[in-house]
Amino acid sequence: MSKIIIGRYIPGNSIIYKMDPRGKIIAAFFFIALIFLANNWITYSLITLFTFAAVFATKLKIKTFWQGVRPLIWLILFTSVLQLFFTTGGKVYWHWGILNISHYGIENSIYIFIRFVMIILMSTVLTLTTTPLEISEGMEWILTPLKYLKVPIGQIALVMSIALRFVPTLMDETVKIMNAQRARGADFNDGGLVKRAKAIIPILVPLFINSLTIAIDLAVAMESRGYREGEKRSRYRVLKWSQYDWINFAFFALLTVLLLIFRNH
């Protein structure tokens, strides 16, 4: 479980860590849109170079990023292979029934592969360098306009931060309960489907009860410290826009211009 890297934050100290989460989130979404501007070898190379530059700028181990891509690699390859066999156009190299390998097919499947991998790498750059709490604060700011449509953004953001905050706590709790039941001879990996499903009960019941206890305790603690629904709150961590965010945006602007120039080449 601890090997999954998607959505995980790893402490670090490079420039990307100093950027404002709002800027990083906007940039990450913008990047996904940008990728669709690429339509030839030059533009795809530009996107790839840019992504790798971002990956290196985090100063984290490359292995960590590979761990992020690995769980999805089969899905990506599968999609690429579908593209390879079903795209028609250009010179046909091989064909059998509805399957064929064409010039466009080869090109398209490689483009799709690059697109997927770059999107995953870029979102991994975001999640590895930004704590879940920062992401939820950034999202809250980005969604602020919805307030005028009477959407309770503040509360939604609070629910989000609490949920994120308690993911590791509940993971720990689960491991503890599983260990306690294992010590009492429970076996989670043995027997047929029914037996395995039954074996989960001794984990689920305590986990459920403990989460409720934690939730009630948290509610009492929050109320006793003055939390009221819908009331205005000040912030402990104030998001600050820095020069690094401008630099970040400048790079993205540069990439956009380059893509627009070279896409019609």
Partner: protein, 286 residues
């Protein structure tokens, strides 16, 4: 037979950026049938060490021999059930592991898992529930209706019900009232005297002094001392250096000494303290 740890290392999350070493080169030999205390600060590796007794964690390197089993990094999960039948663990706040509809069913969960037939499992569960002071009319009720202290007792009964050869306890009395604490600690002591090994993690030096034979002291994932209880508390300077306390009785004797009233031996329990004071008083009178 004994419990043997040989150069045991354990690394959490090996190969990830979250890697850290939980145990560093731990080696010791424990005699079967003893009461052993493990002390040390929060984060010193006590609970990590305890989980190795049951192969819930397997050493990254090194070897463990206990109850006729060899545990190394290569141990597979296949035959662990027979090991876990012999080694019981009462985790911290064991009341969090209760799940069954009735108290009796929960206490029978372990024995049934380890292949006891239903009659024997029920007999054993009832025996230990009774020993831990749970009234018979409660057996068919939900464990979640009990008070925290009683839930703790049910959980402990659930481990004792399969009568493990080695009983491991992780602060079993934390948060209990003084009477309850004394009660369950004496149950563990009695269990040891009836021919079982008991391993106790605790922060209470009074419990160490009163119940344990040997002590393992952990600090920052290393074993820094393995000695007898009497020897450990003989040396207040060493204890202070490692931010550990003496038991109350010994501290009282220490203060008496500073005021010019010196006892021959460092008393470890209230009984010993009372005895040595009255003995000394008698000598004065004569």
């Amino acid at each position: 037979m004994s419990i043997e740890f040989k150069n045991v290392n354990y690394i959490y999350n090996q190969g990830t950026p979250f890697e850290y070493q939980g145990l560093k080169d731990i080696s010791f030999n424990l005699t079967d049938g003893n009461f052993i205390a493990i002390i040390g600060h929060t984060g010193s590796g006590k609970s990590t060490l305890l989980q190795h007794f049951d192969a819930l964690l397997k050493p990254t390197s090194g070897e463990i021999k206990l109850a006729g089993f060899d545990i190394t990094s290569k141990t597979t999960n296949k035959n662990l059930k027979s090991l876990r039948k012999k080694v019981g663990i009462v985790f911290q706040f064991p009341e969090n592991q209760l799940f069954a509809e009735t108290i009796l069913k929960d206490a029978m969960f372990g024995p049934l898992n380890f292949g006891m037939d239903a009659d024997l499992a029920e007999k054993n569960a009832k025996k230990w529930l009774k020993r831990l002071g749970i009234k018979e009319e409660l057996y068919e009720q939900s464990p979640f209706d009990l008070s925290g202290g009683q839930m703790r007792r049910v959980a402990i009964a659930g481990v004792l019900a399969y009568e493990p050869e080695i009983l491991c306890l992780d602060e079993p009395a934390a948060g209990l009232d003084p009477v309850g604490r004394k009660e369950i600690m004496s149950i563990f002591k009695e269990y040891q005297k009836n021919g079982h090994t008991v391993i106790l993690i605790t922060h209470e030096m009074d419990d160490v002094a009163q119940y344990a034979d040997d002590v393992l002291v952990l600090q920052q994932a290393k074993l820094i001392k393995h000695t007898t209880v009497a020897d450990l508390f003989e040396n207040p300077e060493w204890l202070a250096e490692h931010y550990l306390n003496q038991p109350h009785a010994a501290r009282f004797a220490q203060t008496l000494k500073q005021n010019g009233f010196k006892l021959k031996q460092t008393p470890l329990t209230i009984e010993q303290l009372a005895k040595s004071i009255s003995k000394k008083m008698r000598e004065y009178n004569e």
